[in-house]
């Protein structure tokens, strides 16, 4: 068991993709569950906070430590097992398995059947079967499956397949005192809001599920809470606050024979909303409906002009100010063609032109489409990095909120009007089909930065009033916990803290995620958080 002092050599482990910087005293890179458990028990004995890390690709600072110990799981990246049940395959992976690597293993069948825990039969059947895929598809493919489970990540295809939760069949989690929960979907349920979670040593944990009603839209805000819920759903999306995941079971789906992407260009946002509604109403075989606004397209136009790395981007006609991308998935080519042609008619009805669409039916064309879609966030990050050179205090500010279907036009107008009133530069993209937009504010100076933060806090209130979620896929982490308080109120936050306390009485895991450490202590007579581990804000 190696625990290292967190010296300058390990500084990168104080950060994640949110660009927040934390602090910690020590770090470890366990290679197996026994090592994880030993370290956790040691930290728990001393009341030392433990922040679990995967690929550090999170955007809400969930993996940024607020003191104590960092447990980085990047060395725990093995495929442990392949099983087959009812014609479906499941993989058991360690939490540090990187999504890109998982995809390579699945697509290339890079599996040694003899090394599978339950024997070679299912792995051999998988190798010889049709193609399968893991539908959760966040843009950042260096994310780990553990991180994906911890924040219930999703991606573009969540429009059809839902978030990661829908495809996770089992979680094995080490609790603070070293006991282990090993929960398979469909085996343990809450009774109303009361959950008795059996542990592998025969003991159990009793906890009250928070009493709030979750929003009726895409949601990654706080603990999953529902009457009679499956226990595995509580562990998924718990933002590293209940324990450390040591194994994850994921279910694969058959890869559709035909996956076609189509980019439709429009002259204004209202038409894009109309097209989105038409696609949602008229088609049942779309896996994704994505959006890119004028700010995003203008940044791409500029990149193509100035930066040779982006010269391969297809040219964007200047009369278009936004783009809707839809992905068709079908088993039958003629059905895919009919859907495509129908989308063309919908586009024409919304004022677009079939001639100015991009259709990707081959891997090469799909790569071009993907390059275009991924170039947007990449370009925005480059632009902000450039601005940071003159004002290091600024960073990108991004919303990750979703609302129910009926509020799509309303929320789009809210974003547009408030951004215009504040005079802020922005780029908006994301999952329009789920009414889930990543509204990125691009501050030019500290004044813009401050204004932007106020604006996003205001959006959190309005989105909550629309019955929406303040975080739809990035998780709450540390950066959005104030929004979580807006969404659920302080009483419900205390219920979350009470739930955490049942799992993690000393509050060592993911300190500062979801709520401040102080919330763990009952309102009357709150104890002091142990010296040296009092939470301090991460520097952004």
């Amino acid at each position: 068991m190696n625990i290292y002092e967190l010296t300058q050599e390990y500084e990168i482990y104080l950060r994640d993709e949110s660009r927040s910087i934390g602090h910690a005293a020590s770090i470890s890179f366990p290679e197996n569950e026994a090592e994880m458990r030993e370290i956790i028990m040691q930290m728990n004995a001393g009341g030392t906070p433990v922040t679990i890390q995967g690929g550090r690709t999170g955007l809400a600072a969930g993996a940024v430590p607020y003191g104590g110990h960092v447990m980085n799981l990047s060395k725990m990246d093995q495929l442990l097992d392949v099983t087959a049940e009812d014609g479906r395959y499941s993989f058991t992976v360690r939490p540090g398995m990187v999504l890109a690597n998982l995809r390579k293993i699945i697509a290339g069948r890079k599996i040694d059947p003899e090394k599978m825990r339950s024997g070679p039969d299912a792995a051999l059947a998988f190798i010889n079967d049709r193609e399968y895929f893991f539908p959760t598809d966040p843009t950042e493919t260096s994310a780990t499956i553990g991180g994906i489970a911890a924040c219930n990540a999703s991606g573009a295809r969540s429009y059809k397949f839902g978030a990661a939760r829908n495809h996770i069949t089992r979680i094995r989690m080490i609790l603070a005192d070293g006991r282990i929960a090993d929960i398979r979907r469909g085996e343990v349920f809450a009774s109303g809001r009361r959950l008795v979670l059996p542990l592998t040593d025969g003991s159990s944990i009793s906890a009250e599920i928070p009493s709030y009603q979750m929003p009726a839209c895409k949601n990654a805000s706080g603990y999953y809470a529902r009457h009679d819920m499956d226990a595995v759903d509580l562990l998924i999306g718990s933002d590293g606050t209940l324990g450390a995941i040591s194994e994850i079971g994921i279910e694969l789906l058959p890869l559709p024979a035909y996956i076609w992407g189509v980019s439709c260009f429009l002259q204004d946002e209202d038409r894009a909303v109309r097209l989105t509604n038409a696609l949602r109403d008229g088609f049942r075989n779309l896996a994704a409906i994505e959006y890119f606004d004028k700010g995003a397209l203008d940044i791409l136009r500029e990149q193509k002009r100035k930066n040779t790395a982006f010269s391969a981007l297809p040219a964007l006609k200047k009369e278009y100010s936004c783009c809707i991308y839809a992905e068709i998935q079908e088993e039958d080519e003629s059905a895919a063609l009919q859907t495509l042609l129908q989308i063309g008619k919908c586009l024409t009805a919304c004022g677009g032109r079939e001639e100015d669409t991009w259709v990707a039916r081959s891997d090469t064309d799909r790569e071009t489409q993907q390059f275009f879609r991924h170039a947007v966030p990449e370009s925005v990050n480059m632009l902000i990095d450039e601005r940071k050179k003159t004002d290091p205090s600024i960073t990108k500010l991004a919303g990750d909120m979703a609302v129910p279907d009926e509020h799509l036009a309303e929320v789009m107008h809210m974003y547009r009007e408030t951004l215009a009133a504040a005079g802020l530069q922005s780029a908006v993209w994301g999952h329009m089909g789920n009414n889930h937009l990543h509204v990125n504010i691009l501050p030019r100076d500290s004044r813009d930065y401050s204004l932007g933060k106020q604006l996003i806090a205001g959006w959190a209130e309005k989105v909550t009033a629309m019955g929406g979620a303040v975080s739809a896929e990035h998780g709450v982490g540390k950066l959005k916990r104030d929004f979580l308080a807006i969404m659920y109120g302080s009483a419900r936050i205390e219920e979350m803290a009470a739930l955490k306390k049942a799992f993690d009485p000393k509050g060592i895991f993911g300190r500062g995620n979801l709520f401040a450490a102080e919330v763990m202590v009952p309102s009357a007579g709150r104890e002091a958080v142990p010296a040296g581990e009092r939470e301090t804000e991460a520097a952004e």
Binding site: N128, I343, R353, E354, V359, D365
Partner: protein, 259 residues
């Protein structure tokens, strides 16, 4: 101006997977795709048409399902497409293939310009373009990386050579083969796909193009594929230790052993 672009259907993946028990190739059932070099060739033709005006025909030889690839070229902008498909063509090597393509080209009259991809990603021979030009008796410029000018009777290009680059001006009719990076192929539009679905793709037999049976298919092939296999790759690593002189001596001995 008339332009003919030769295209080939190739497997969608270059990665061959083997069953770990039976050691047989696993067929993933994926459909063939247009050879990426030929997609670049088509894009070159379409850009010439946009600036100088042209009629672009795509031409392929293959099984009947290759119509799907040719329809895709129409979706991307080709004016018409022709497929050579006949059992008589089975087993053709590059010589027999270029002969058949030449017969098809002559049937409609030699165009001003033929554009081929430099090579196909499955065979990697890079022979079809030059052989087709030879069969038609027109000049060929291979490995073109940039088209500088297109006139009524000449085309100016830059080609990659072993020593660097060459600027070449050649009289028309001529054939050029293009490298993949010459242009980024456009994606088809919904309108293009709608038009392609309604378009007729001509399918010609060996008899219809007047091909000599002795020069087509296996009979007309100078070479034959005897066996297809994945090359065995062996990696060995030898660590050389000691002083610089000792390491140099050991390295020399190793090189001598290998050679």
């Amino acid at each position: 101006m008339k332009i003919v672009v030769c295209v080939k259907a190739v497997p969608s993946s270059t990665e061959v997977r083997f069953d770990p028990v039976s050691h047989t190739i696993i067929r993933d059932g994926k459909q063939a795709v247009i050879n990426p070099f030929d997609a670049a060739a088509l894009e070159c033709a379409l850009r010439i048409r946009e600036t100088a005006g042209a009629h672009v025909t795509t031409l392929s030889m293959g099984i009947p399902d290759t119509v799907r690839i040719l329809r895709d070229t129409v979706a991307r902008g080709a004016d018409e497409a022709v497929l050579l498909s006949d059992r008589a063509f089975a087993g053709s090597d590059t010589l027999a293939t270029s002969y058949a393509l030449a017969c098809a080209v002559r049937k409609t009259g030699v165009p001003d310009l033929l554009i081929c991809g430099k090579m196909a990603v499955d065979g990697d021979t890079a022979q079809i373009g030059p052989e087709l030009a030879a069969a038609l008796g027109i000049p060929a410029v291979t490995n073109v990386k940039e088209i500088l000018s297109v006139g009524e009777d000449r085309i100016g290009v830059i080609r990659e050579s072993d020593d660097g680059e060459q600027e070449v001006s050649v009289c028309l009719p001529a054939l050029i083969t293009v490298v993949k990076s010459i242009v980024d192929p456009r994606m088809p539009s919904i309108a293009g796909i709608r038009a392609a679905e309604a378009a007729a793709v001509s399918v010609w037999t060996a008899e219809e193009i007047g091909a000599d049976p002795e020069r087509t298919g296996l009979a007309g092939s100078a070479t034959q594929v005897v066996r297809t296999f994945s090359p065995e790759r062996k990696k060995e690593c030898v660590y050389i230790e000691g002083s610089a002189v000792e390491q140099a001596d050991r390295l020399r001995a190793l090189v001598e052993e290998l050679s």
